[in-house]
């Protein structure tokens, strides 16, 4: 079978004398004084939005302004888990669309994002967690998402390395099993969108922070940057971790608190853990990457901070619980830890769509699961910008849902929602 599936795209590299580069990020151009659309932030969501604006709506005069380097914020820091087993119907529909887009992305991009279906297990260690798992499974199934509440025997059969002992503080009582749960190479997703968007005409400007937002009569007119003023008909912000700071420049506040989320990886091991394991009660999640590293994390930090500093206590808590689940990993080593800044909302659902400022759009409040929404977020925000009207899938995530007491309650499902 393999010869038929020959990776023939590698052949030219071997046979050509000279490496033929294919630029993912074009050389930076002069910043123009005006664009049709300016996107603040150069992460996965922003790049995806630019891509779909060009591909689906023919809007190509788009400028992406990134204060640091491309996709260097939460796109670079997340742990690359993709799933759609949410608790609310609104969440499930939205993420299921994302999964659908993800599955075709490598072919869309002609660039392998290493999308890998691994199966996602959310372990339940208490009666309450079993109940929530059943709730999620039932909602998922009703909406056509492959998801099932399973019990210890089945868990053991599917994940033979998990410690199913009764003699631990929090024995495993059940799990929400979501076979389509996947991982992908997170950076590659952003690079693929960058190449696609710029090929269609969008510009990426790195090291270009937005320092002000120009608003006249309640309508956005452009943005200020150290490289000059940039006018735009429409402006979107997609700046996880700096959401409130940028929104403040546009003159409005959000129901968001910015809280660090930490993660770490082990030194590479030969693959042994095929699944994505999450335990809400123990505040841990783990999967093994295509590099062989165990990618691990937990819940958000205990207090708000605009910093990506790491802490020791994060590792102590995380690995204490990790060894309860996988005791054979005691001699395995942590290679690197890092942090990102998560924008947490009261209901753990995003804030997307229109804002109090005309022609100014927001993509925010991603908490700990922005990566898995990247394609659908780009698609729906592009639609929203092009039509000045929210896409059907993101209507429930409108900003005013809080003051209107119409929250989309994902919180119950999400003490650790990766």
């Amino acid at each position: 079978m393999l010869p038929a599936l020959l990776p023939y795209k590698l052949l030219p590299y071997g046979f050509r004398r000279k490496y033929k580069p294919q630029r993912f990020i074009p050389k930076q151009k002069e910043l123009k004084s005006s664009y049709d659309v300016v996107i603040i932030g150069g992460g996965g969501h922003a790049l995806a939005c630019a891509y779909y604006l060009a591909r689906d709506h023919g809007i190509t005069d788009v400028c992406i302004l990134e204060k640091g380097y491309l996709a260097g914020g939460n796109t670079a820091r997340n742990t690359a888990i993709i799933r759609s087993n949410y608790l609310t119907p609104e969440g499930v529909r939205f993420y299921e669309q994302s999964l659908k887009l993800y599955r075709d992305l490598s072919q869309d991009f002609d660039f392998n994002i290493l999308y890998s279906e691994r199966g996602h297990f959310t372990l339940a260690h208490t009666d309450a967690a079993v109940r929530t798992s059943r709730w999620r499974a039932e909602v998922n199934k009703q909406l056509g998402v492959d998801s099932e509440l399973i019990y210890p025997d089945e868990i053991h059969r599917l994940c033979p390395h998990l410690n199913m002992s009764d003699h631990v503080r929090y024995p495993i009582l059940g799990a929400l099993y979501h076979p389509p749960g996947s991982i992908a190479r997170h950076d590659a997703v952003a690079w693929g969108y960058a190449r696609g968007a710029t090929a269609l005409g969008a510009e990426v400007h790195q090291q270009t922070p937005v320092t002000g937002i120009i608003i006249e009569n309640g309508t956005v007119k452009g943005v200020e940057t150290p490289r000059g003023r940039v006018y735009a008909n429409k402006v979107m912000q997609a700046v996880a971790g700096s959401t409130s700071v940028v929104a403040k420049m546009a003159g409005f506040r959000l129901p968001i608190r910015t809280i660090p989320l930490q993660a770490c990886v082990s030194v590479p091991l030969k693959p042994f853990l095929d699944q994505i394991i999450v335990s809400g009660s123990l505040h841990v999640y783990v999967s093994q990457s295509s590099r062989g590293e165990l990618v691990m994390g937990g819940s958000t930090d205990p207090y708000g901070l605009y910093s990506t500093r790491s802490t020791l206590d994060f590792k102590e808590g995380l690995l204490g619980h990790m060894l309860e689940l996988l005791p054979m990993l005691g001699e395995v080593k942590i290679l690197r830890q890092w942090a990102g800044m998560a924008d947490m909302t009261p209901d753990f659902s995003p804030v997307m769509g229109l804002t109090p400022v005309k022609n100014y759009y927001i993509d925010s409040g991603w908490g700990t699961w922005g990566f898995k929404a990247t394609p659908v977020c780009g698609m729906t925000m592009a639609h929203t910008i092009a039509n000045d009207s929210p896409h059907e899938l993101i209507k429930p995530f409108y900003l005013d849902r809080f003051v209107e007491y119409a929250q989309v309650g994902e919180k119950g499902a999400a003490s650790v929602g990766h």
Binding site: S244, R257, S307
Partner: protein
């Protein structure tokens, strides 16, 4: 691990404390329309910089106020809530409203 100086218990590891979010004094709920109430309740300043926040020393359940820089992770000052909230808060009886 940060050290936080509890006004009651002195310097302790920050793992002994619980974060209570920014200090935003509650307006008289009856004086606000629904929208203004919702704004007060849900919207956050989420300041990148110096903030005034509630913190609780968990083992002693002591609430106090901290001035903290959310960019540098520096705790600038801590003091008992009584320094800010000096007087008894009263709510007007319902009958008097409207």
């Amino acid at each position: 691990m940060k050290v936080m100086n509890c006004p009651l218990n002195g310097p302790r590891n920050i793992s002994e404390f619980a974060w209570g979010g920014e200090v935003k004094t509650m307006p008289d709920p009856s004086s606000l329309d629904d929208r203004a109430w919702g704004d007060w309740l849900f919207l956050e300043n989420n300041e990148a910089g110096v903030v005034h926040e509630w913190w609780c020393h968990v083992p002693t359940s002591f609430w106090f106020i901290a001035e903290r820089n959310t960019v540098t992770d520096e705790i600038l000052k801590t003091y008992p809530a009584g320094e800010l909230f000096k007087d008894r808060v009263n709510f007007a009886p319902k009958a008097e409203k409207k």
